[in-house]
């Protein structure tokens, strides 16, 4: 393949398409189950309950410190399965590539996907590629769908939430949102910050035998504030977070100060939030702290009976001991972070 850039012909179903599949997706996507000849993959599933999910990824820029749209597309779907109490098994993937994307970039994306899948122990078993004319797409869009096996002992159910429960987070928040923002180079800020983009399955596996673990969520778009809103609204409870306890990297904090962002609304792509009975929160923190990327895990808040006197069910006790509301996000400060 001598072409350096994706052309429309790469998507026309002819020779170039064939070459693209063989020389990029097969070569760099390397998985024995990836069947590029038949129109559907065949795989066996144990005779148990399965979970299925799908998500599309349009991050800009395509590559950022700590990952790219390929690794993000694997982790996003793996994480949705993981927090639902499933062991992720199989992924499908579908690429929409804009004419003009460099082959080198596409290869990096596919490689990152394969690496992420390998590390997360999932198989990418089927895929598709389309090419759209220049100007009609944002470089590379990727959809992944995933199937996972429901872990029989998990009891994650939002209906189990009750006042007094603790909120635990597996690591510092907002790294992904800020890493992508800075990678856009719009603010002229330099930073060493890397995205937290990773599989959260090890965190789930570490605690899902603890009976008091009630519900898990990966705080992606909208950050922990919106994850709390979803839970509070679904249960008619309130949630109060404690600013001083929320792990935050110094760089995220200074970027937020500089640009006036609230870190609680910034996306994570490799963190998980658990709602747990108060008597097990220390155990959850302890187990998470020995996981990779888990050393800053912490209890960050609690579930309260619905605070009817406030307009909004999520609040924050601030560093200086005051209290403020964390309202629902209105306009996303960071478009296209996932």
């Amino acid at each position: 393949m001598t072409e350096e850039y994706i052309s429309l012909a790469h998507g026309n179903g002819g020779r170039l398409t064939r070459e693209l599949i063989d020389k990029v997706f097969v070569q760099y996507g390397q998985h024995p189950l990836l069947d590029t000849v038949n129109d559907a993959a065949t795989m066996s599933l144990p005779n148990q309950t399965i979970c299925m999910t799908t998500d599309s990824f349009t991050v800009q820029p395509l590559e950022f410190p700590g990952g790219n749209v390929g690794s993000l597309a694997v982790h996003g779907t793996v994480n949705d399965l993981s927090v639902s109490g499933a062991t992720p098994l199989y992924l499908s993937t579908s690429f929409i590539i804009e004419e003009g994307v460099s082959m080198a970039c596409l290869i990096r994306v596919v490689k990152a996907m394969a690496e992420a899948a390998h590390k997360a122990n999932v198989s990418i078993v089927t895929g598709d590629t389309k090419v759209v004319p220049k100007g009609q797409g944002g470089g590379i869009y990727i959809n992944t769908a995933g199937i996972g096996l429901k872990r029989t002992h998990t009891q994650f159910d939002i209906k189990r939430l009750s006042a007094g429960d603790h909120i635990v987070v597996s690591g510092p928040i907002g790294d992904h949102g800020v890493a992508v923002l800075l990678a856009r180079d719009e603010f002229g800020l330099d930073s060493q910050l890397i995205s937290d983009c990773a599989s959260v399955y090890p965190f789930v596996e570490a605690i899902d035998t603890i009976d008091g673990v009630k519900f898990l969520r990966d705080p992606t778009r909208g950050g922990i504030a919106m994850a709390m809103h979803e839970m509070a609204q679904a249960t008619n409870l309130s949630i109060r977070l404690n600013e001083a306890a929320i792990p935050l990297s110094g760089q995220v904090e200074s970027v937020c100060n500089m640009l006036g962002f609230d870190p609680y609304y910034l996306a994570c792509e490799g963190r998980v939030v658990a709602v747990v009975a108060p008597e097990v929160s220390e155990e959850v923190v302890r187990r998470w702290q020995v996981c990779e990327h888990g050393q800053n895990a912490a209890t960050i808040g609690e579930v309260l009976p619905r605070q009817e006197q406030y307009h909004c069910p999520v609040s924050l006790v601030t560093h200086i001991g005051g209290e403020r509301l964390l309202d629902e996000l209105e306009d996303d400060p960071l478009p296209r972070i996932c």
Binding site: Y310, H311, H319, I320, G321, E323, R324, L325, D327
Partner: protein
């Protein structure tokens, strides 16, 4: 450590227990955001009132200027650039056509948000066949980089629709209309960084009100508050710079020099407030070629512009002037929300209504000031 110093500060404030209301105004959206996001009001004695004043450049940008921007944007030759906050600000008085820049955009106008004058120059360079108009609304902190851009020279196809304001004249106007408008002032840290702290001495010297320049952490605001309260209990009034690591008495003289080279100061209209003497920046005649109002004099002619009364119930002017807290406007959180803003203060991140909506404690028993003129 941090917590410790905050507790000391709060204890210090409590120890001074004010027995009568002490109304402290801030005139910077950044301060209002720090106060609200730190939940400061929930910690203070109820006699200490923290009042957001005219500190949001988007909120006070006159409607005729926005109407000019909309008009320009609707011209096919024009790419209209604006700070993102301004895009959704509604114009009450526009009789026909779109009532915000965003509405103009949905009708096909090329309206783009920018973060800095550098973006404007880059966009002009990348679109040489188009006329690029940079709608630059802001206070001194925004005007300084705009002046730098103009002084340096801009691409031929770039002009500036300037809507710049100085902060201190609005405070002077508030005090000359009503000496009792507030009891002490937290002076704006960012503006003072450029213009110098000395600019704010008049509040203490001429009006006898304690004044402190504050930084932007909750702790810095608390430290400034303690300084103000101490002044009152000692019965003195002076300007104290509580942000000396950044703010100097003379400010950034280089930036001021650029401002003087490029712009002149004259009377200007403030939305909801009216004309304030010596409060507006306009481009000097030498820079007429960069002035959108000169190059597009027909498109920007708003002489027939007639403002409509704001929608019934909207109290934006009272909120901007610090006469009412945001949640005392009957539309707050009801008809007027960030998704469906009625007034400018619900749009901008610097606007008091928007800040209170997204992070204030909106509880039923929140202590409120005695509303004047409700």
């Amino acid at each position: 450590m941090r917590r410790q110093s905050v507790e000391t500060l709060i204890a210090g404030l409590d120890a001074m227990h004010p027995e009568r209301p002490f109304r402290v105004m801030n005139v910077c959206g950044g301060h209002e955001r720090s106060i609200t996001q730190a939940g400061l009001r929930s910690l203070l004695d109820k006699h200490i009132e923290l009042i957001p004043g005219p500190g949001c450049p988007v909120c006070i940008c006159p409607e005729e200027d926005i109407a000019q921007a909309i008009h320009l944007a609707l011209n096919e030759q024009v790419i209209l650039l604006s700070f993102g906050d301004m895009l959704r600000v509604p114009v009450f008085s526009h009789t026909e056509g779109p009532r915000s820049l965003l509405a103009a955009r949905s009708q096909g106008a090329d309206v783009r948000p920018v973060a800095s004058p550098l973006d404007a120059v880059a966009i002009a360079r990348a679109n040489v066949t188009q006329q690029v108009v940079f709608f630059a609304a802001g206070f001194e902190t925004t005007m300084a980089p705009v002046a730098a851009m103009v002084a340096e020279g801009v691409p031929d196809n770039l002009t500036v629709l300037l809507s710049g304001r100085l902060t201190w004249p609005a405070v002077a106007m508030l005090l000359s209309n009503d000496e009792q408008a507030f009891d002490a002032l937290i002076a704006p840290g960012h503006v003072a960084t450029i213009m110098g702290s000395d600019e704010w001495a008049f509040v203490a010297e001429q009006h006898g009100l304690p004044t402190a320049i504050a930084g932007f952490h909750g702790e810095s605001v608390l430290a400034a508050l303690q300084c103000l309260l101490q002044q009152r209990s000692d019965n003195r009034a002076q300007l104290v710079n509580c942000y000396p690591e950044v703010v100097k008495p003379q400010g950034n003289t280089q930036a001021q020099q650029l401002l003087r080279e490029v712009m002149v100061v004259s009377a200007a209209n403030w939305r909801g407030i009216g004309v304030v003497e010596d409060s507006g920046f306009t481009l000097r005649p030498e820079f007429a070629t960069v002035n959108a109002r000169v190059r597009f004099s027909e498109l920007t002619d708003q002489s027939s512009f007639t403002p409509l009364a704001p929608p019934a119930g909207a109290r934006c002017a009272d909120v901007v002037l610090g006469r009412l807290y945001p949640d005392q406007c009957p539309l707050f959180g009801n008809e007027c929300t960030p998704r469906h803003p009625i007034g400018p203060c619900m749009v901008s991140d610097e606007g008091a209504c928007r800040i209170w909506m997204s992070s204030g404690m909106r509880s039923v028993d929140e202590s409120k000031p005695t509303p004047e003129g409700v």
